[in-house]
Amino acid sequence: MKYGAFAMASAIAIVAANGALAESHVTPEAEVLHYWTSGGEAKSVAVLQEEFAANGGTWTDMPVAGGGGDAAGTALRARVLSGNAPTAAQIKGPSIQEWYQEGVLADISDVAEANNWGELLPASIASHMKCDGTWCAVPVNVHRVDWIWANTEILAANNIEMPTTWDEFNAAAETLQAAGIIPLAHGGQAWQDATVFETVVLGLGGPDFYQKALVDLDPEALGSDTMVAVFDQMRTLRGYVDDNFSGRDWNLATAMVMNGEAAFQIMGDWAKGEFLAAGQEPGVDFTCASTPGEGFLYNVDSFAMFEVGGEAKEAGQELLAELVMGPTFQEVFNMNKGSIPARTDVALDGFDSCAQTSSADMAASSDGGSLLPSYAHGMALFGAQAGAITDVVTAHFNSDMSSEDAVQMLTDAVANSM
C-alpha cells in the first residue's frame, strides 16, 4: 500500500517534470560516461536509459569497460583535459571532491533541494554528494562491503553458528579445518586482501578506530597496538585460506562456497548475485551476515555532473539527477544489481532477506554513527593513500612479515603518500 503511494508520487513528479520541460521547449540531453558494462549492470543501466527517453530526453551512452573503472577514469580525464567533459560521469567517493577541486563539477542543488535529498539520504552518504555545501553528485546505490557469506549446509553439518566475533570465527575455522574443509574462500588479489583487512579493522577496533585509522589517517591509530592485533588476525586468516588462492578472482572464491569446498567468504554484497544466479536461496543454501563486530561499510556508486554549456544539457543534468534519485529507478536498479537503494524511503518488499538486513543495518548504524565509508573500494581516501595502505596489507598477507613490521611499514607508507 505504502509502495503504491510512492509510485503515484513519483508518477506525478515525472509528469510535473515533463510539464516543466515542455514549457521551456528544450529536449534534455545527456551524455553519460559509466563503467556498468557486465550483464547485470548493463541491464540495470538500460532501465535508466529507458526512463530518460520516456521523459523526452536524448541519452548518449558512453560505456567504458575494464579495470573496475580505471579505464573509465582515464577516458574521463582525457575528455575533461580536452575541454569536452561529458554531461555526467560515474565517479564515487573522494574522487568527487578531487574533481570538484579541479573546478569542473556543476551545481545541482536546485534539484536536490526541490526533492529534499537532505532528508532522504543517510547523513554520511549525503556528505559525499556535497562539495563545499552545494550538491554536486547523485547517489545510485549502496553496496555493503562487510558481509560474510557462508555455506549453510557445511555450518549445520559442523554445528557452527554464524560468528559474531573474530574469536568465534577463528574457533569455527579450526573446527572446519579439522574436518577437512577450507574455512575461508579468498582470492589473492590486492583489493580482496584490502576488503578482508578493512572488515578486520572494523571488527577488532570498532567504528571509532576505523574512522581514525582508515578515514582520518591518524598516525597514532595507524601505529597502535590495535593495528598490530589486526595484522595478527590477518596472519591467522592467511592460515585458513587454501594454498592455491593467489590471483583467484572473487567470483571463483564465491563458487568455492557454493560448491561446498569452502565454508566462508568475506566479500561485498555483489557476491550475492553469484549465489542467486546459481539458483541458490538466501537463508536456505547460503547464509549472509555482517562480518564480526559492529558497523556498516558502504560503497556507493554515484554520478557527478560536469560543468557543460547549453540549456539542453543543463536540462538533461536536472532530469538525470531527478530520475536517478527517483524511487522507481532506485528500486528497479538495485534489485537488478544486488545492492540497496541509497534513499531510505523505498519499500523493500521485492528485495531478498540479505538486502533487507542490509537496509535495516544501514539505518541503525547511521543513527549510531557507525555508517562508514569503505577504504578498500575507494570511498574513504584519495587513490594514493588508499593504494599505499593496500600495498602494505597485501605485502604482509603474502609474506611472513611480522605484524610489528607491517604496522611500521603502514605508518611510513601513509606518510610517504601525502
Binding site: 580505471d70 580525464r77 578531487e98 594454498d243 584519495f382 594514493a384 593504494g387 597485501t394 605485502a395
Partner: protein, 290 residues
C-alpha cells in the same frame, strides 16, 4: 627554383615525420620530466616542487621491489635467452635435414602476443591446475612446483615465460650470424685439424660480436618495458612481489590518480634505458667516424 627544390627535397619529405617525432617523442619526454617535478595528482599541474616525487619514489618499498625485480628478471632473461638461443642456433647449424621445420617451431612463440604467453603459462604453472597437479596425478604426491604463488619465487616464473617466448628469436639472430661467418676460414681450420668445438669458441663466436650486441639491445629493451607479460601471468602478485617499474607506473597513473609518481618512475625507467643504450650508440658512432 627547381634546383632549390631538388636540393632540399629530402629535407622537405622528412620534415613531417621529424616534426612529429620532435613533438610526440621528445616533447612528451620533456613534458613527463616537467610533471615529475610537480605535485600532480589526478590531473597534471605545472607548479614546480623540487624533487619531492623522486624522494617519495626512493622511500617506496614497492618501487624498490620493482627495481630489484627488474634487475633479477632483466639479467636472467637476457643471459639465459642468449645462451639458449646460441645453443639452439649451433645445434641447428649442423646441416640437419629438417632444419626448416624445426626453425619454424622454435620461432613460433615469437608470433604469440605476451598476453597469450602469460595466460598460457599462468595455467601451466598454477599449482591446482597445471604441472604440479598433473605430476601429483601420476602418483608423485610430494611433488611441489608452486613458484607462481610463492612471493619469493614468482618473479622466476616470469623469467621462464619470457625466455620461452624470446629464445627462438635470439636463435634466429644467431643462426643468421653463424651463416655469415666466412666458410673459407672454417675449412682452413678443419684442414689444420682443429677440433669442432674449438672452431666455434675460437673463430665463429668471436666473429659474431656485433650479433651479440644487437641481441643484447633487443632483449634489454624488451626486459625494461615488460608489462603485459606480468599483467597476464601474475597481475603483479602475490601481493606486489612481481611488480616491475612499468606496472608500478601504470598503477600510479591509472588506478591511483598519482600522476607525479607515475612520471617520476617513468623518468627512472628512461634513465635505465639510457644507461644501456648510450654506451652502445657511442661505440657505434665512434667506429663509424674512425
Amino acid at each position: 627554383m627547381s634546383k632549390w627544390l631538388q636540393d632540399n627535397m629530402p629535407k622537405i619529405v622528412l620534415a613531417p615525420s621529424f616534426i612529429a617525432v620532435m613533438i610526440f617523442v621528445y616533447g612528451f619526454i620533456g613534458w613527463t620530466a616537467w610533471v615529475s617535478l610537480t605535485r600532480s595528482r589526478l590531473m597534471p599541474r605545472y607548479e614546480l616542487d623540487s624533487f619531492i616525487q623522486y624522494e617519495r619514489l626512493a622511500a617506496s618499498p614497492r618501487f624498490e621491489t620493482a627495481m630489484v625485480n627488474l634487475f633479477i628478471f632483466g639479467s636472467l632473461f637476457i643471459i639465459i635467452a642468449m645462451v639458449l638461443g646460441l645453443l639452439l642456433a649451433i645445434l641447428l647449424d649442423q646441416k640437419i635435414r629438417t632444419e626448416g621445420a624445426i626453425r619454424t617451431i622454435y620461432l613460433y612463440p615469437m608470433a604469440l602476443s605476451m598476453i597469450v604467453t602469460g595466460t598460457a603459462w599462468k595455467w601451466i604453472l598454477n599449482p591446482g591446475l597445471g604441472l604440479e597437479a598433473m605430476v601429483r596425478g601420476w602418483g608423485f604426491e610430494e611433488f611441489r612446483f608452486d613458484w607462481l604463488v610463492d612471493p619469493d619465487m614468482a618473479i622466476y616464473t616470469i623469467v621462464i615465460a619470457a625466455i620461452w617466448q624470446s629464445s627462438g628469436f635470439v636463435m634466429a639472430l644467431f643462426l643468421a650470424g653463424l651463416r655469415s661467418v666466412d666458410g673459407e676460414i672454417i675449412k682452413a681450420a678443419q684442414v689444420d685439424g682443429i677440433p669442432h668445438w674449438r672452431v666455434y669458441t675460437a673463430i665463429i663466436i668471436p666473429s659474431m660480436a656485433p650479433i651479440f650486441l644487437s641481441a643484447f639491445i633487443v632483449l634489454a629493451h624488451l626486459a625494461i618495458k615488460s608489462f603485459d607479460l606480468v599483467i597476464a601471468l601474475t597481475g603483479g602478485g602475490p601481493g606486489y612481489a612481481t611488480d616491475l617499474p612499468a606496472t608500478y607506473m601504470y598503477a600510479m597513473a591509472f588506478s591511483r590518480g598519482d600522476i607525479g609518481q607515475a612520471a617520476s618512475s617513468a623518468m627512472v625507467m628512461m634513465l635505465v634505458v639510457f644507461a644501456i643504450v648510450v654506451p652502445y650508440l657511442y661505440s657505434e658512432l665512434r667506429t663509424k667516424d674512425g
